[in-house]
């Protein structure tokens, strides 16, 4: 679709159109206000910042919901708030909301109860939203950097903890390095098409077919793919993931494994499907390989992990691989699958991390799989929650993870990528082993601990409740959510 000629239903505004960035505006204002408030309150009251940011997220969520079905473009076509971006914005807000619910308890335990974390999470969310609605390489880059800079800080947030320092610094160095590749790719695309507008790139290519053989354009596409692959942690650009996820404060790991990954996919999809449809044969080939590598490396390496955070880091790599399967397919079913999967992944993964926050002890102790021995019996309800999350991650019905995977894979099959789907199924069968290992410890080993330090704060309980609902409801009645996802695809 040529986006230069606006369809009649897009509120055309060449210049300033705040309606197109309303959620971003609301959230940024709240975040900045919180930064100010933070100065005036003492450390016992930091939790209020959390509550305020939750309110802010809810307000933003209403703005997102109200924008549904009414695309808004603005700022000289550099942002477009369509259903696609709104669906992703919803996903980001959900992940931020769930993360904030589990943050307070963690911060108090680790004695790093600094209020800045809440505005930082909100800023990161703003960055993600910009990435999802950016229709100009500049906006996308800007969003990506707003997100990344906040995440560097969040990863190294516990500044007294050496592991957290290391995670932040590693993430920073490698993230900045990958930004170089992404930018170089953008520069080459700009050079070969003369524009940075996503839609204009597509129309330039369709009018000047010979540019397709220009190595500059191809290299630009590939380098952008490299940059985005870093963000979504696709192999072989995934190697930072386990270290950073292990070292970062647990709630931030939960956040990083969900929101930024979804944002990376949003921008990745937008750029490749809207700007470079003419090169689909090329990039789907590349994505095929990346998907297979990512799934396999993630799952196989996860088999031998003992630290549960690190194990879930590898699992999140594998999940990026599954989502890439749907992306490779590039058809309606596959793309809707990507949207659906990212949202349900937010629920299941943050839910699992909520349990990890709960079981962990001061100084990031008690994070080994073996520390969960007998957990399921000492705390049947919590054990049940964890089992539901693990089943969903493993893709076992009736959890949302199964429906999502089924969708992604059937998208691949409809697009003719049968082998890709088979490799995906094989991988997901192998992944059951390491998820199951946690269950085996939870239910089939004698407890070594009394788990008497566990204290479920109301907000954490709410997080668990929402996550369980978010895993089970779309798993059993996925209709509504799938409808939304289908209305949000870029076709």
């Amino acid at each position: 679709m040529d986006m230069l000629q606006f369809p009649a239903n897009i509120a055309a505004a060449a210049g300033v159109n705040f309606a197109a960035i309303m959620p971003e505006v609301i959230l940024s204002v709240i975040a900045m206000a919180l930064l100010l408030v933070n100065v005036f309150i003492n450390s016992e009251q930091k939790a209020y910042l959390g509550y305020l940011s939750l309110i802010g997220i809810v307000v933003t969520f209403f703005s997102v919901v109200s924008g549904w079905g009414a695309p808004q473009s603005g700022f000289n076509n550099s942002v477009l708030q369509d259903n696609f971006s709104l669906f992703f914005k919803g996903t980001f807000l959900v992940s931020a909301f769930l993360t904030i619910l589990i943050t307070d308890q963690y911060l108090k335990r680790e004695e790093c109860n600094w209020g800045e974390i809440y505005p930082l999470i909100l800023f990161a969310t703003v960055g993600m939203m910009l990435m999802a609605s950016g229709t100009d390489l500049m906006t996308i880059f800007l969003g990506l950097e707003v997100l990344s800079v906040s995440l560097y800080v969040l990863a190294g947030f516990n500044r007294a903890n050496l592991k957290s320092n290391e995670a932040g610094l590693k993430y920073f160095l490698l993230g900045a390095f990958s930004t170089g590749f992404l930018l170089y790719g953008m520069a080459l695309i700009y050079g070969s098409t003369g524009t940075t507008r996503v839609a204009a790139i597509a129309s330039y290519i369709s009018q000047n077919g010979m540019v397709l053989s220009n190595p500059m354009l191809v290299a630009g596409m590939l380098l952008m793919a490299v940059g985005f692959s870093f963000k979504i942690a696709a192999a072989p650009f995934h190697m930072w993931t386990p270290d950073v996820y292990e070292g970062a404060p647990t709630p931030m790991t939960a956040f990083m494994s969900v929101g930024p990954k979804a944002a990376g996919f949003a921008a990745f999809l937008r750029v490749f499907i809207v700007a470079l449809p003419a090169m689909k044969a090329d990039w789907s080939e590349l994505l095929w390989v990346l998907a297979v590598l990512t799934m396999t490396v993630g799952n196989i390496t996860a088999l031998k992990q003992t630290n549960i955070k690190r194990m879930l880091a590898y699992s999140s790599i594998a999940h990026a691989g599954y989502v890439l399967v749907g992306f490779t397919a590039g058809n309606a079913v596959g793309t809707a699958g990507v949207l659906f999967y990212m949202l349900s992944y937010a629920f299941m993964n943050i839910g699992a991390f909520a349990i990890i926050v709960l079981v962990g002890r001061k100084g990031e102790e008690n994070n080994n799989v073996s520390d969960y021995a007998g957990f399921g019996f000492k705390h049947p309800v919590l054990g049940m929650c964890m089992s539901i999350f693990l089943f969903s991650l493993a893709g076992i019905p009736p959890a949302a993870g199964f429906i999502g995977k089924f969708y992604l894979f059937s998208g691949a099959i409809q697009a003719g990528y049968v082998w890709l789907a088979i490799i995906g199924v094989l991988n997901s069968a192998a992944s059951v082993y390491y998820y199951l290992r946690v269950m085996v410890f939870m239910y089939m080993k004698d407890p070594t601990e009394e788990f008497d330090w566990l204290a479920v704060s109301p907000s954490l309980a709410l997080c668990l409740l929402l996550s369980v609902a978010g895993v089970l409801i779309p798993g059993i009645v996925p209709g509504t959510l799938l409808d939304l996802a289908q209305k949000a695809i870029l076709m």
Binding site: L173, L174, L222, T301, F391, F406, S410, Y443, M444
Partner: protein
Amino acid sequence: MFENVWLIPLFPLIGFLINGFFGKKIKNEAVIGGIGTLMIFLSFLVSCGVLMQLIGLPAEQRVFEKVVFPWIHCGNFKADMAFLIDPLSAVMIMVVTGVGSLIHLYSIGYMHGEEGFYRFFAYLNLFCMSMLLLVLGSNMLVMFIGWEGVGLCSYLLIGYYFEKKSAGDAAKKAFVMNRVGDFGFLIGLFTLYWWFGSNHNIWTINFVEIKAASHLLPYGGVVTIATLCFFLGATGKSAQLPLYTWLPDAMEGPTPVSALIHAATMVTAGVYMIGRMSFVFIKSPETMMVVAVVGACTAIFAATIGTAQNDIKRVLAYSTVSQLGFMFLAMGVGAFGAGIFHLMTHAFFKACLFLGSGSVIHAMHHALHHGHLHDDAQDMRNMGGLKKYMPITFLTFLVSTIAIAGIPGFSGFFSKDEILWQAFANPYHGGLNIVLWGIGCIAAMFTAFYMFRLVFMTFFGECRINPKVKDHLHESPLVITIPLMVLGFLAVVGGYIGMPKLMGMLPNYFEHWLDPVFELANEYGKEYAHVGHHTHALEWGLMGLSVVIAVIGITIAFTMYMANNKLPEKFTSTFPALHRAVYNKWYMDELYDFLFVNPCKGFGNLLWKGFDVVVVDGIVNGVGKIFMGLSAGIRGLQTGYTHNYALGMTLGAVVIVALYIFR
């Protein structure tokens, strides 16, 4: 009633929710067990209603699809949460809810006083719900959900006594092996879906739609691939070669679980699945052959192992594997109706056998507990002579044993004989049919042998239990014996609805009943194989032969485990010359030992120790080891050094760009 079919899986779900969430608070065993049993019994009543309505319809109208709610709709893909009622699913729901109700009732007595009583009933209800989803699902996805659900429940229930390490390991093994099968199922599903979609633009996974479009499927080729994948799923779930080893280990679970899940229902899911998709399977002669050969081999293989076991439940476990082999043999030779028939009769008599063994173990355990003895309550060498202590258990057990051994007049005879006859007479595999039939006959002989060995060792002869505690042996309470009696009764009469036409007393209702389901498959089969004509005399002859075979098996068992008791002493004094011969039982024992027992025992042991433990487990563990090695290798790349990661990224980028620019 059709409109209310969704109630059938709903009741057990309610039971699961109540017992799962509030069971710990309720505490009262009668209430918990009552709720669990009542829920499944209500399902049984609804199932009866459905069956009645189905019977009332003319044969060709006996298909009904009930969409409970639209589930996944995306583009041209559609999967509803929908249930399919047809003669096949009607049989299955009757078996699941009927046998299920009895086993729930039994469990109230058997699990009395166990810690986690509520947990047991919650899981059991959840299992029933999943199994009902599996058999009622009108598309492969609903079926798959049930398929996974039963696997999960089986895992939870095998590991019920989680304090025992072996229970945990067995549960894990079952789950992993089932997953191997599940991935086969999914790939088969995807293959069919892709083939219909890309070639005929029919994107469907609905059984009715696939059936309607099945004439488009080619013979062999892609159908072979898809069906082999499905069959892999079936071997995992139904414990066939080479994925059967989890089933004997699964006996770590409580006995009612073994009866319900690992004998009567879940393990037959593979057979049901092939029946459900008979019109696809029959289109691949290669797959049919594989199914038949795997079934026959499993039947004889497991039967031989059964002869060398001393644990009462393990004998029954191997027997189950062997009987499942018979069912697959039936499916493989195109005798779908006979296979489902055997599934049903097997559910009756094997559930009865398992529950009977549970009753025995219960009594033994109780007695040994009284005497503070730590003898193995499941070892048949500690039993013997129990018939006078437990007359009801003994009678029902004996009846079921006769049924499984294939003595005319009992249910097992009709179904097993039908399978053997069709293995002989059906034309699909040419000369191989005779071989399959032969293997089946030998397996049937072993079955009669080991089952009667079991009965003789357990109920006859002198009581080998420690005399101190003999007086504490007594019959189990009514809540346990009532299900036994009902199942025992069914084990006798259950076969009469499927009497062979030949006997002529009653028409073969059962096959007629299933005709609408399988007639399409039979039609497809005729495309490449022509039914030969066999005389009635031949059929009578083979039937007689199978009876003889069963009798031989029983006689061997009798000679070995009964006849060598007290008789010799009398002879010793009067006829010293003869004595030596009689003492040595005419040297028949030695002859038997030499001819049958030792080779079999040796073979059984060899298979068990050698093949089972070394080869099968070796392969399964070996694959695991390879992946673990790979895991360690890839982990090694993750050095923790930032510049190595940067190097990895750079290399990745350079390789990708170079490949594209210079190709």
